[in-house]
Amino acid sequence: MSDDPHLGFIIAAYLAAAFVFLSLLLWVTLDYNKQKRLLNLLEASGARRRSEGDKV
């Protein structure tokens, strides 16, 4: 396969796939960390939903 004249196209396609997957993975991970941090900050300040009892 290494002597295929279109090897560059094959490599580019798989690199693009890896980039898209890693971007999605990074997006969900960073977003999760951000939401968790914000939620912890709010809960630490005493904010509670009515269903959870005390309200602020």
């Binding site: 396609a13 796939a17 898209v20 999605l24 997006w27 999760y32 939401q35 709010l42 939903r49």
Partner: protein, 246 residues
Amino acid sequence: MNFTLANPARFLAFIRIAIPWLAVFGSIVTSIGFYLAFAFAPADYQQGETVRIMYIHVPSAWLSTACYGIMALSSIGTLVWRHPLADVSAKAIAPIGAAFTFLCLLTGSLWGKPMWGTWWVWDARLTSVLVLFLIYCGILALWNAYEDPARAGRSAAVMTLVGAINLPIVKFSVDWWNTLHQPASVFRMGGPTIDRSMLWPLLVVAIGITLLMVALHFAAMRNEILRRRVRTLGIIAANYEMKRGV
């Protein structure tokens, strides 16, 4: 039918267990699929080694429409039952579907240049997939245009269901019009026309990537549930501060 998971708290408990399993199992199956695709599947008698692009292009194409299908079903859940998890699901799958559609267009272009002699042609299949990508972009823009997630969810659901008319056009474009893109060779009346030595690796990769897509969807849903909790608590905290100030 079991509706116990249709509660955000129970759903969060369920996906806390499901996400790692789906991610690990999906990675293993995808790796096996790529191993089969590169070590056992033969080169094509006409396309040579370039046919290897198929093992990433075709699953991306399937998932681009599958994600839209999930989004359309979730939109029905939003408009008919107004279930909070339905629009969480619809919002979470939109960027994933857009990413797979982008990957489908990009890998198709990288396959088209050496085989057709062109990066792009305005034939019915390519154009309808580009329209699918633009619809995804429009839905993502709509989600970000509203402050209130419930209002955004209803508007995005209507747009999603209107845009769903493009799905049969994507699928049957190669039959209805004379296209440079080849006709269906796997999901077609009369069975697949692709040789088994290529079909099995393709199906294994497709199953693996589908499992990874479900893991990403669940992870994005979890994030959206947390985002809505943050929004609710932020409003409660702001109201309390306002009352205290008065």
